[in-house]
């Protein structure tokens, strides 16, 4: 009896033991499963409850002028967004939001009734609008911190600098060309959050430490202002369609000012026509007209086939090549090469071209940079057009010598003229002189680069002497003369091609190119006026703008006058002479 009882107890113990063993084995297996197979997923799930992911968008770098005056900056703003699923009364919310943000009620209502979990209501709102929406205390509406690009100098050098879009990416100008340098880095980080979802003890919230590189330009804001004012005045006086002006340092190729008219405000670029956004001095080719004669004469002098005093018969103002007749504004007989430039004789230029031949002319123009890129650090540069000399007809060779039948950008012309000012050395033009990090430490510097020698120093000196005569009495550019500085220059008046492909009778491009002081040029200045209605000659329309820019800029740069005047002298003596 007792043995049976003991056996029962043992069986029960065995069963209970087995049951415990199975339960413990199950728990052990589950623990292994959770730890080994689900460990990572569970850790993530737990972390999600007290951590939140944060994406920080770095600030776009600043663009400064050469004296570190900001030209493009990034400011902190906010964008208004909505989570439609969380909004209880979409109709009332839409009405209140539309009024606060000055939006169309229908458009806001459509966004709020969207099935998307997140929608933008208005990007980059003003602080006033943020306050107005905050006061409404609407559920499901959020403010997302954002960066906005602001151009404190407004229209100044707008076509050169360009602008960035709403997503902080460069769309035009230097903003586009140097986008990789300027764009702020994006950082993904995790921050601890408390029960209310607030960020806690985060070391990554300070976005200002996250910023793109800054650009320091060669452009000087004061020179840019002087240039823009002079250009605007010239265009308004001549009732022209548009215009541009380039100011360069001929010795380095640094662009000191690049102005375009009509102006446009990059803070509100959508309010302007797309054509006004373009950096036309770099992107748009045009027939330069008589300003090209200085390069044709350079070819003649450099070839050794002519000197400044070699004379050419200018056919008394009318010269026929095949079926084409070339005219001069004032009929002339025999003119020296120097006088051809001074009086801007087209026939004289053709005669010079016939003397040197198309190959020499083509090669010299190529050396000066026509028909190829100047390699400036701006987007969309044109190479202009200069057909190979083998394809030139007789009239082409003549026309190219006086600046028709080829095209060039304003920058190509300014760079070519700078080579004459720089004793025959062609420089690569540039607009960015340094890149710095967010603390202002230099990351990269850009120095002036010589491209090649295009003419000898002797030829350059001769050309400068010839170009000085253009400004003297009887020359075409007397309006560019400065009382206190010597000036080298050349006028240009080119007929424009109309839609039929022929030269328009009443549409001109008037230009003036020059440098000053003649002895040691500090500035190369080109002024181009498109379709002036009041007087169409470069010497009448563009030369006064050149004079204004040159005078004020040389004064600003404290360049001592080069024209000798009575000097104030002081002497040490007993008598005072009065």
């Amino acid at each position: 009896m007792k043995t049976r009882f003991n056996q029962k107890i043992k069986l029960r113990m065995l069963l209970v033991g087995l049951a415990f063993f199975l339960v413990m084995a199950g728990i052990g297996a589950k623990a292994v499963y959770l730890q080994v197979f689900c460990g990572q997923w569970l850790s993530q799930k737990a972390a999600d409850q007290y951590e939140k992911s944060q994406v920080t968008f770095g600030k776009r770098g600043t663009i400064y002028d050469t004296h570190q005056q900001p030209m493009a900056v990034t400011i902190e703003t906010a964008s208004v967004a909505a989570y439609p699923a969380r909004i209880k009364n979409a109709k009332a919310t839409a009405k209140a939001l539309a009024a606060a943000l000055k939006l169309k009620h229908r458009s806001v209502a459509r966004k709020l009734s969207s099935t998307k979990s997140f929608v933008w209501i208005k990007r980059q709102v003003t602080p006033k609008e943020v306050a107005a929406v905050s006061r409404l205390e609407l559920e499901g509406i959020d403010f997302i911190p954002a960066h906005s690009r602001y151009y404190p100098q407004k229209t100044m050098a707008a076509q050169l600098i360009g602008f960035a879009g709403i997503d902080g990416r460069g769309l035009e100008g230097l903003e586009f060309y140097y986008d990789q340098e300027l764009v702020g880095p994006i950082r993904h980080s995790k921050v601890l959050k408390d029960a209310f979802g607030r960020g806690f003890a985060s070391s990554h919230t300070a976005a200002p430490h996250l910023a793109g590189h800054n650009l320091i330009l060669t452009v000087d804001l004061t020179i840019q202002y002087i240039t823009e004012k002079a250009l605007e005045e010239a265009i308004k006086t001549s009732q022209a369609r548009s215009g541009m002006a380039v100011v360069m340092n001929p010795a380095t190729g640094a662009v000191l000012a690049l102005a375009h008219y009509p102006f446009f405000n990059p803070n509100n670029f959508t309010a302007h026509q797309r054509a006004d956004w373009r950096n036309r001095a770099v992107t748009d080719p045009f027939e330069p007209g008589s300003t090209m004669k200085i390069f044709s004469m350079a070819a003649a002098l450099e070839s050794g086939k002519a000197t400044a005093n070699t004379i050419f018969f200018c056919e008394n103002g009318r010269y026929t090549i095949g079926r084409n007749t070339i005219h001069d504004t004032s009929p002339r007989g025999w003119l020296s090469l120097q006088q051809i430039i001074k009086y801007s004789s087209n026939i004289g230029a053709v005669k010079v071209s016939e003397l040197i031949g198309p190959e020499v002319l083509f090669n010299t123009l190529g050396y000066f940079g026509f028909g190829r890129e100047t390699q400036i650090d701006c987007p969309g540069e044109t190479v202009g057009s200069l057909a190979p000399f083998k394809h030139w007809s007789k009239i082409d060779a003549g026309a190219i010598a006086f600046g028709q039948g080829l095209s060039a950008s304003a920058l190509q012309l300014a760079t070519g003229a700078s080579a004459i000012a720089n004793d025959g050395i062609l420089m690569r033009p540039f607009v960015v002189r340094a890149i710095t990090d967010r603390n202002g430490r230099i990351v990269k510097t850009f120095k002036s680069q010589q491209r090649q020698r295009v003419i000898t120093p002797e030829t350059a000196h001769t050309l400068r002497r010839i170009m000085m005569t253009v400004i003297t009495d009887g020359g075409t550019g007397t309006e560019a003369a400065l009382e206190e500085y010597t000036v080298c220059g050349k006028t240009g008046t080119a007929q424009k091609i109309n839609q039929q492909g022929t030269y328009a009778e009443d549409k001109y491009i008037a230009s003036f190119i020059g440098f000053a002081p003649a002895e040691r040029p500090e500035l190369t200045i080109l002024v181009v006026i498109d379709e002036p209605a009041q007087g169409h000659y470069g010497g009448i329309v563009a030369a006064p703008a050149f004079r204004k820019i040159a005078r004020e800029t040389l004064n600003y740069l404290k360049v001592p006058p080069t024209v000798k005047r009575d000097r104030l002298t002081a002497s040490h003596g007993d008598e005072v002479l009065g």
Partner: protein, 77 residues
């Protein structure tokens, strides 16, 4: 037992301090951010005030200044 309780209290105090300082750091960072923003805005304001257009206008209209004419510039030898 006594030491155990003291240790427990000390640990709790440390945790509370940690949380409090965490909030203070967050607040200080937010304030720093605000000051940086204000600094940026002031820099922009300075840029606007120093713009050549504004200075030129004040020089011409309020102070009656002009670019010196050739005779007014005297170079001392």
């Amino acid at each position: 037992m006594f030491f155990f309780i003291v240790e427990l209290l000390f640990y709790t105090w440390c945790r509370v301090q940690n949380v409090r300082i965490g909030y203070e750091i967050t607040q200080a960072l937010a304030q720093h951010q605000q000051l940086v923003t204000m600094h940026n805005n002031l820099k922009i304001e300075t840029a606007r005030l120093k713009s050549p257009e504004r200075i030129s206008k004040i020089a011409r209209e309020q102070l009656g200044l002009t670019t010196p004419s050739p005779g007014q510039v005297i170079v001392l030898p």
